[in-house]
Symmetry: C3
Subunit: 222 residues, 3 copies
Amino acid sequence: MTTIETFVRVLDLGGTFVFAISGALLAVNRRLDLFGILVLSFVAGNFGGIVRDVLIGAVPPAALSDGRYLLVSVLAGLITFFLYSGVDRLRSPVALFDAAGLSFFAVAGAQKAIEFGLSPVMAALLGMLTGIGGGITRDILVAEVPQVLRSDLYAVAALAGAGIVVSGDQLGLPYGISALAGGLLCFGLRFMAIRYGWHLPVAHLSAQGRAGVEGRKDGGDN
Amino acid sequence: MTTIETFVRVLDLGGTFVFAISGALLAVNRRLDLFGILVLSFVAGNFGGIVRDVLIGAVPPAALSDGRYLLVSVLAGLITFFLYSGVDRLRSPVALFDAAGLSFFAVAGAQKAIEFGLSPVMAALLGMLTGIGGGITRDILVAEVPQVLRSDLYAVAALAGAGIVVSGDQLGLPYGISALAGGLLCFGLRFMAIRYGWHLPVAHLSAQGRAGVEGRKDGGDN
Amino acid sequence: MTTIETFVRVLDLGGTFVFAISGALLAVNRRLDLFGILVLSFVAGNFGGIVRDVLIGAVPPAALSDGRYLLVSVLAGLITFFLYSGVDRLRSPVALFDAAGLSFFAVAGAQKAIEFGLSPVMAALLGMLTGIGGGITRDILVAEVPQVLRSDLYAVAALAGAGIVVSGDQLGLPYGISALAGGLLCFGLRFMAIRYGWHLPVAHLSAQGRAGVEGRKDGGDN
């Protein structure tokens, strides 16, 4: 195993752990039972990577062929289950863990896509998808509109981090440096967006548009 | 690239564009931000094709290996974002764009499934799934019951269009003709269903059945 | 085709039928039309197996390359559609059919994962995922939190059944015996959980935790 492969694996496992924590916290908040918590931990922690691996043809996905992903997910779920009352005193713990997991996954996802020969633009996009896939699935499983579609600069932060990794690869920089820079940029953007309420613009809705929305919600299926 | 491949690609890009518009319109209606709009555009425009490609083993999917799908999706999202107040004056724009995208995808999906050696019945079914996959994912992402499961003749229209393409292939007709016929049939069926309220029958629910529904909704999880 | 392969196929088709029934019943309860019923039948009956096949690289999935899965799903949907008022008199029919489908799929999914060379732990996990994948997708499609995340011992029962099959394979027992034992254990656990309200523990939520939940629900996407 080369140094790069080891580094990607460590990033992947780290991202799995923090995403699994975010899944477990959400599961506890929604009053799911212990196994529901473990399932949501595994899904939140691994679904982004599983989707990435299926899309680039790396089957069976690393999350299934390497037992450590399961171990790390179950560990995160159990820690959250037994120490929840301690964990939930942290301010916005879900959002912070989520930002860290997003950074890990965006960087590692972009690198793996590069290794499988995808073009730079698509590798950056796949890094972003790796980062947001677990969180999207986590939110869908509790029947909520995924945070990524509403949150300030969420996907943009993942795309920026993945973009740094891809750019570094194109420029021939050592992977460790571009991965660190990309991860910090992603986490920093997300943190600032949460802290200062940075957000992207929302489209202008005319009065008719709003009426249409409500009409569609109430009545129709067309 | 042969003529058939070019035609399939054009259908795919056209379907991507109109589905992406439908995703962007829904995202604007649900007050998602700019990136949420672009994400929903990409998902609505490409998820049907991505699911099809993963299922037939064509990985990485065309939507990831060919940058034009991304470009077309982003373009559709930006147009909707900046020109929404103009677009929303059209009557039922979501439904019309949706019907056009459905027709494009059902035809192109069936053809690609034939090329990958699936049986005629399965190719028609996969054409239907290609057509409805993007819309289903779009609706799930905003936490709604997918339109396809409620709408009048939605999946039937896609299946009919895909069936024409498969039948034409079995009869040795030129692809262009059967694709055009299948697409028009699908769009026509969908349009008439919207216009005249054509719909499929709903199962008879006894009083006990309705009580059971409400009981399940309120209380239980079994 | 060897005896084992035949047995796996029979289990798969049986599981498809009972899961499709559960999908059709839910679709009728949610007032979907005939095609919505058939779509939900197919999804509930086949999505677990399709996800399993995509993950282990067996594409196109058996549910698409073998027409009998489609036939069985459509049959289940039509039976439910025409005989619903009879079927719904059975006590908790959705839960019972669901338990039977879960047992079939957990056993067959674990066996197929073993055949594709996955490790014992992952084969058991994949058996569980095969069992719960169809039901999760079925519930997501009607915009509900999946039953598996709330239900008493649901995933645990599937994991136990799959675990028996994997253990039997490791010990060199005939597949028929371990499959029967695993299936009965899974069904028995699920049945007892429904009958006697067996359930897994839920994490302790402090007062602050509950406040946080409500705050997140009402307001923000922090």
